[in-house]
């Protein structure tokens, strides 16, 4: 991201071109970028070395000897994980270890998200893998079996094929998360591969504020719950990716479910760290790399959640920018009309006394107001954003720009 006198550059459209978007600014805007600390991408050799020298487990070849049913859980397009690259490296290692391709099943750990079609699977996993391996989408209502473990007062059901495998691998990215501290690791099992009721439980807890601070694993009882459940089920190998500002692999930690994930989270905390901002006139929160759909755009408040309301002054302006290349998106819990946890859009308390404006060119105004409160402003064109900010701040304004706000933290 750069901020010059002639405009702002934002990373844009994850999984749909991953390009830079140039945006104009108004007269009297003093633009100040707040980038994440960031890191350079690993070389291919470094990625391979991370698998060959795992954290807290034996090497993969030793672990998979004599295993006949191997499942690999991966995340979907709402997450930035460059899964194809990692899966190719992993499959090479499994091949060296003598595992035949027909012993492997890839399961997309969807939670209640909508299943990936072939075109989306090609984006996420690559054509060769999709065409030559068995790849299935998790369904939170079918093909489930008791996991023999409770969450709250109910028994967790998990994907049956995942449970029946004799070797279980997870591949996920480790980015700040609203209630799990960081994504990835055990969270891919619950809620990722579990039944609807268990997923509802976790989301209700979050909506009630029964959560920990994003960007920290310490004293995080949700993370501890997820790890307890995943340990009970048995995870044999966990691949944790930390992506940089360009969605490249900047950190890769393979091995034990908890030990390798903790190392990844520590690295993630360093590279997503962002200078503290306070009392801005205008803050622009860009949702990249979680900008694929409107239902995920609320992730753009991640940085603000770690700083608090003081970030933007009273009567200041908050702008959310998200490409929404996949449109409104689908989330079984929050889908307008049918979602179990869908509620009529309401104002968010942490945004009170601020102008709130969404630049979401991938969705219509009608779609936008199915999700967000009528008092928030919708903009299909950037010119509308500039006009409104100029009108609300006629004497000029200090504009803080957070190019990766969905993963940036100040902790």
């Amino acid at each position: 991201m750069s901020a010059e006198n002639d405009g702002i550059m934002l990373p844009w459209a994850a999984w749909n071109g991953d390009r830079e978007l140039h945006l104009s600014i108004g007269p009297g805007w003093q633009v100040k970028p707040f980038p994440m600390a960031d890191a350079i991408a690993l070389t291919d050799d470094e990625v391979v070395a991370a698998i060959e020298e795992p954290v807290g487990t034996k090497n993969l070849a030793g672990l998979v000897a004599d295993k006949t049913r191997i499942v690999i859980a991966v995340d979907d397009l709402s997450r930035p994980t460059p899964t194809q690259l990692l899966l190719e490296v992993l499959l090479t290692e499994l091949d060296y270890a003598g595992v035949p391709a027909d012993a492997i099943t890839v399961i997309v750990s969807l939670g209640t998200h909508t299943e990936l079609g072939k075109a989306q699977l090609y984006k996420k996993l690559g054509r060769e893998i999709v065409d030559n391996l068995r790849v299935i989408n998790h369904d939170c209502c079918e093909n489930l079996a008791p996991a023999g473990v409770m969450v709250g007062k109910m028994e967790v059901l998990l994907n049956k094929e995942f449970l029946e495998a004799d070797f279980r691998i997870l591949i996920g990215s480790v980015v700040p998360h609203h209630f799990a501290g960081f994504s990835g690791g055990a969270k891919m099992v619950l809620p990722g591969l579990s039944n609807l009721d268990s997923i509802v439980w976790t989301h209700k807890a979050v909506m009630m504020g029964l959560r920990s601070k994003p960007g920290t694993l310490e004293n995080n009882r949700f993370r501890a719950e997820f790890e307890r459940i995943a340990r009970h089920v048995g995870i044999d190998f966990c691949l944790n990716v930390v992506v940089n500002s360009q969605r490249q692999v900047a950190g890769f930690f393979a091995g034990d479910l908890i030990e390798a994930h903790s190392k990844a989270a520590k690295f993630a905390k360093e590279i997503y760290a962002t200078e503290a901002a306070e009392n801005l006139d205008v803050a622009i929160f860009n949702a990249y790399p979680k900008d694929t759909e409107l239902l995920q755009s609320e992730n753009a408040f991640m940085y603000m959640h770690t700083v608090g309301e003081k970030l933007v002054r009273e009567n200041g302006t908050i702008v959310i920018t998200a490409a929404c290349s996949e449109g409104l998106g689908k989330h079984g819990l929050f889908e307008p009309g049918s979602g179990v946890l869908y509620r009529k859009p309401m104002p968010k308390r942490f945004l009170k006394n601020r102008n709130v404006l969404f630049f979401v060119p991938g969705v219509s105004e009608e779609e936008f107001y199915q999700i967000y409160w009528e008092g928030y402003h919708y903009a299909k064109n950037w010119e509308t954003v500039v006009d409104k900010i100029n009108k609300w701040h006629p004497g000029g304004c200090e504009v803080g720009v957070f190019p990766h706000a969905s993963i940036q933290i100040n902790v």
Binding site: W201, K204, A205, M207, M208, L341, M346
Partner: protein, 78 residues
């Protein structure tokens, strides 16, 4: 006042304004969110002289007037 009345009084007038019954989900009715939840815990601890532990902070204990009332009754009886 009964326990339920004391609990309802914390949420009024929102319950009455929204026609929320004792067994309705407070979450789905938009009555409870993260900030309200923090206030609720403080209110319950003070009003009912109980100590609510972290591992009791689960949705099934707080998602309706009935659930809260049952939770408090069981806490008091323990």
């Amino acid at each position: 006042m009964s326990n339920k009345e004391l609990i309802r009084s914390f949420f009024e007038p929102e319950l009455e304004n929204n026609g929320v019954e004792d067994d309705d989900s407070l979450l789905l009715a938009g009555i409870i969110d993260s900030l309200k939840m923090m206030d609720l815990i403080g209110y319950l601890e003070k009003e009912f002289e109980v100590k609510i532990d972290d591992d009791e902070l689960m949705p099934e204990n707080f998602d309706s007037i009935d659930a809260i009332s049952t939770f408090i009754r069981e806490k008091k009886a323990a």
